[in-house]
């Protein structure tokens, strides 16, 4: 058993794909921010990616078993930080998500908490030492996850809060949650969602209405959804070309360098570009799942599956949203959308996956 690990064991396929996605993202950010106040975004994104790579290195250097040791501390720290965000955070676009770090940088705590949730769920499920997940244990774990979820919901940031639940659910499923419980959860969800609609904040209700009937208020509730679909549809098979997308360049598409970056990409690169991009995400996802399958222990597997679930959920919700398949929810597209917190979180998540991979022969 060697205590020294080789860089050759890093998953270079993953890294290559991710850097490709990042590069496309940066190109798209450049294209979408021409003639705007945010023309500097593309090189900021380059810095974020470089920083992300360093963070990834940092994460994979520390044995994930050691990281698990600090889960209780990380958990308490996360909850405190989220509370602090709620108390001190800057209000942007009507919600408090960011803690100012100085020098104009703002940290979105809820992004980093995703990693803590993954580690928490992985450790909890491993500690059960069982092939089946009892509903009692699931409820305990769900209780732990619920605290940060509620704090994020209060920001309000429904999208991010749902990613925590997605990680919890995916890992619980892998941990052997029985089908009858899954069915029960599905039934409860179907029953509860219409009720929760009444407790949603107004802007969420508006998004839901806008999703169900975008033409009802094309200038208001349905605007983002309609403009996004117009952008994508008008992109046609081969797209309008970089910096040529009218919806993107003329600002009909809302924030085309952040949450709606994929619509901007689809407009300028067409269906072909979309398929290539989604294929890259798919390969990335499968590669992460493969690392879960080859993990040396259950903790490693849960970590990898958590990351996979997080990635899948992000892609599903973001891409589904821009295509009008899902109501508008503000979550970024991993590695493409502009934003340091998101980029770093996903690079660190990749760091976790590589961390597991590096140590697959250790035990």
């Amino acid at each position: 058993m060697s205590k020294y690990l080789s860089a050759r064991d890093i998953d270079w396929t993953i890294l290559l794909i991710v850097l490709l996605i990042c590069a496309v993202g940066i190109l798209q950010i450049y294209s979408a921010t021409r003639d705007t106040d945010s023309t500097s975004s593309w090189w900021k994104q380059v810095l974020y990616v470089v920083g992300g790579l360093m963070l990834m290195w940092l994460v994979l250097a520390i044995d994930y078993h050691s990281l698990l040791h600090y889960v209780p501390g990380l958990y308490v720290g996360s909850v405190s930080a989220l509370t602090l965000t709620f108390l001190l955070g800057d209000r942007v676009y009507g919600s408090k998500r960011w803690i100012p770090l100085g020098f104009g940088f703002h940290l979105q705590v809820s992004e980093l908490v995703k990693l803590v949730i993954i580690l928490l769920v992985a450790r909890y499920l491993t500690d059960l030492r069982s092939d089946d997940l009892e509903i009692r244990d699931l409820l305990k774990l769900a209780g732990l996850v619920l605290v940060p979820t509620v704090l994020v919901l209060k920001q309000p940031d429904l999208g991010t809060a749902m990613t925590y639940v997605a990680v919890l659910f995916a890992c619980s499923f892998v941990a052997g949650l029985r089908w009858k419980y899954i069915a029960a959860i599905a039934v409860v969800a179907v029953l509860v969602i219409p009720v929760t609609y009444h407790f949603l904040p107004d802007y969420q209700k508006a998004r839901w209405v806008g999703f169900m009937n975008p033409e009802g208020d094309p200038q208001g509730k349905g605007y983002q959804s309609i403009q996004s679909q117009i952008a994508i549809g008008s992109g046609s098979m081969f797209g309008k070309g970089v910096t040529k997308g009218t919806q993107t360049q003329l600002r009909f598409l809302p924030v085309p360098w952040k949450d709606f970056i994929f619509a901007a990409f689809a407009e300028e690169h067409g269906f072909v570009g979309v398929v290539v991009m989604l294929a890259l995400f798919f390969v990335l996802l499968m590669r992460i799942v493969q690392n879960a399958q080859t993990a040396p222990d259950r903790v490693g597997m849960y970590i990898c599956m958590g990351v996979a679930a997080l990635l899948l959920f992000h892609v599903l919700v973001n891409v589904g949203m821009v295509a009008g398949l899902i109501p508008v929810t503000g979550i970024p597209l991993p590695f493409m959308s502009f934003g340091g917190s998101s980029i770093w979180t996903f690079f660190m998540a990749l760091g976790l996956v590589n961390n597991v991979r590096l140590r697959r022969f250790v035990n």
């Binding site: 205590k3 030492r129 200038q219 046609s236 269906f271 499968m286 597997m301 589904g320």
Partner: protein, 646 residues
């Protein structure tokens, strides 16, 4: 590469629990389910893009273009209106108009917008309500001629009222204070009623068309064709790029027959106070035309309105004020006032008497202050004694003309009245002309289903009774007689002589001479028109004092302004070979002489100008002659040999 070792404590930390079951194989099935779910998710996503991008991209492409490509109208400027010497009377100027883009319009915004732009809220609301049926992309112009304050308001409220869009437009610039208002008319947005008329069929809602006067009559000539600019706009409506231009075609300029100098004098004459009645301006009309070709040299109507108020959107309040004015400022009295001509009709009666051979110039009557005709005693306003035709015209003796009229008979009066144009439109190129009434037996039967009573004829013979004329009709009539029996169609836009309609009648030159000499006497002998006398020009004229009601009736209701007699004066000059005919109609001016001075001013201005031009020409010719310079046209041809032929 050195990495930290595995945490040594981890083993012990985890081992205080039951034996670790740490193989991952149990989850293989569940991971497979996850993989299949992922495949499903990606397929759903791709199908979503397939639906948008491959199945119906045209639909979205159209909508993307509809988002960004906008057509902005480029207004085609209206033609200018010039006077006969080419001086500009009506011009255009560029201004900003404000459009309400109804795709974004919100009704609750209207009130603050109306307040901010100093518009009447009810007007604005009514405009928006009226356009509700029209398609959404048709914009509503809510204000023209934006002031700097308005522009500031729009700019600073862009975020609050995104529906406000500024466009540049051409506006009409009319003379101030109603100068020539009735001739020029005004423009305005085409109304719904007009859209149904064939005349306006080719225009679309929102077009600005001529509504009145020359602007309306020559709308097709004056109106330009709007061009269009296709531009790419961003989501804030700012133009990023122009992708196509269809240039605007400007309208044609119109050269009027109006002489600005004469027009100005006529306008001023009407605006000058009349001390004898203690009024500071005169209502009525003045018409001056060239009897040799029908060109209208001046046309004034009072009171006037300000066409500039209509050039922009008129406020309902201002419109009420104009519409409710009892003096009818919107009436062009030169062609629309149908009034009894009074004694100005007498020259035509005299002419009818001579032409029909009923009397000769030496036939006389004796005026004792009245005469009994057909069992009715008709008053004369004076006692004139024995009068022949010349004296009767000079003194305007009613007894003479009562008697003459009765002798000539209504049929002959009607024939000659008809000949000189009474009871018909003159056909001037202005809308809404009225025709007046030339009474006759047929007219009475047609209108009242009654027989003509011979007792009605004497009243007609002194220009009262049912007879009504417009000032323009009278000008054309007297001008035509003065030139010996040629009545040209009056017109306001210069046209070649062969395109002017003319009515001819071979009047006996002697008869015309008799009438003319009487009219010369009116002005230059001890007649009623002495105020029109000019030192260098022989002016012929005739006064008219037209009663609006019988004196008995007026005495019974008391003397009010609204029943005071209308003053008329018709004139032409020079008496031999006349060049100008002028009629002044001074509403409630009481006596004909009150109108005579207006006519005198206009005729004086005409001949002053003529002399001025001649003197200048002469002076120029003298200078040229003294300096020995050949005129350009008379320069000798080149004596150089031509270039060799190739």
């Amino acid at each position: 590469m050195i990495l930290p070792p595995v945490d040594p404590q981890l083993e012990t930390q985890l081992s205080d629990k039951p034996p670790l079951r740490d193989d991952t194989r149990f989850a293989a099935g569940r991971i497979a389910v996850f993989q299949y779910s992922a495949v499903a998710v990606f397929l759903v996503l791709i199908s979503g893009f397939w639906r948008l991008q491959v199945q119906n991209p045209e639909f979205y492409d159209e909508r993307a273009q509809a988002n960004s490509i906008k057509s902005v109208p480029i207004p085609g400027p209206r033609g200018r209106i010039l006077d006969r010497d080419g001086r500009v009377i009506v011009d255009n100027h560029s201004s900003f108009s404000l459009i309400l883009a109804r795709e974004q319009a919100k009704e609750e915004h209207l009130r603050p917008i109306a307040q901010g732009l100093n518009l009447d809220y009810d007007d604005l609301y009514a405009r928006v309500a009226r356009m509700r049926k029209a398609p959404k992309y048709v914009p509503i112009v809510i204000k023209d001629e934006l002031t700097p304050a308005d522009l500031d308001f729009v700019e600073s409220h862009h975020d609050f009222f995104p529906e406000l869009v500024l466009i540049q437009s051409q506006r009409r610039l009319y003379p101030q204070n109603g100068f020539m208002a009735h001739v020029i008319g005004y423009t305005g947005e085409i109304s719904e009623q007009e859209l149904d008329q064939p005349e306006f069929a080719k225009y679309e809602a929102g077009a600005v068309v001529g509504k009145f006067g020359i602007e309306r009559e020559y709308n097709d000539t004056l109106m330009g064709v709007d061009g269009q600019r296709q531009v790419i706009v961003d989501n804030r409506g700012q133009v990023r790029q122009t992708i196509g231009i269809k240039p605007a075609i400007p309208g044609h300029d119109l050269k009027l027959t109006i002489d600005l100098d004469l027009q100005t004098v006529a306008e001023l004459a009407m605006d000058s106070p009349y001390k004898e009645l203690g009024i500071d301006h005169r209502n009525g009309a003045v018409v001056a035309l060239d009897p040799r070709n029908g060109e209208v040299l001046a046309m004034v109507s009072r009171p006037a309105f300000d066409p500039n108020m209509f050039a922009t959107r008129i406020k309902t309040k201002d419109w009420r004020e104009i519409a409710d004015n009892p003096d009818h400022p919107m009436l062009n009295k030169a062609i629309q006032a149908e009034q009894a001509p009074g004694s100005t009709f007498k020259p035509f009666v005299a002419l009818a008497g001579l032409e029909t051979g009923t009397v000769d110039p030496n036939w006389t009557t004796h005026c004792t202050g009245g005469v009994k005709l057909y069992d009715k005693y008709q008053h004369c306003y004076g006692v004139h004694g024995t009068q022949n035709m010349h004296n009767a015209i000079v003194n305007s003796c009613d007894v003479y003309f009562y008697t003459l009229g009765a002798k000539v008979g209504i049929d002959n009066l009607a024939f000659y009245g008809d000949l000189v144009g009474f009871g018909h439109k003159t056909g001037i190129d202005l809308p809404h002309e009225r025709e007046g009434i030339m009474p006759s037996e047929q007219w009475k039967i047609r209108t009242y289903r009654q027989k003509w009573y011979v007792g009605e004829t004497p009243s007609v013979a002194i220009g009262q009774g049912a007879l009504t004329v417009t000032p323009l009709q009278l000008t054309r009539a007297i001008g035509g007689v003065a030139v010996g029996g040629k009545w040209y169609q009056p017109h306001l836009v210069l046209r070649p002589p062969d395109q002017v309609k003319v009515v001819q009648w071979a009047l006996s030159p002697d008869d015309v001479k008799t009438v003319v000499s009487g009219m010369y006497g009116v002005v230059n002998e001890a007649g009623t028109g002495g105020r029109a006398r000019l030192p260098n020009v022989a002016v012929c004229g005739k006064t008219g004092t037209a009663q609006l009601a019988s004196y008995d009736y007026i005495n019974s209701v008391g003397k009010g302004t609204e029943l005071r007699e209308n003053a008329w004066f018709e004139a032409f000059a020079p008496c031999e070979s006349p060049e100008i005919a002028v009629v002044a109609f001074f509403e409630h001016g009481r006596h004909g002489p009150a109108a005579a001075e207006i006519v005198r001013d206009v005729i004086a201005a005409y001949f002053d100008k003529k002399t001025r031009i001649q003197t200048r020409k002469q002076a120029r010719a003298e200078v040229t002659a003294t300096l020995g310079m050949g005129l350009p046209g008379t320069a000798p041809g080149s004596t150089l040999p031509g270039a060799p032929q190739l």
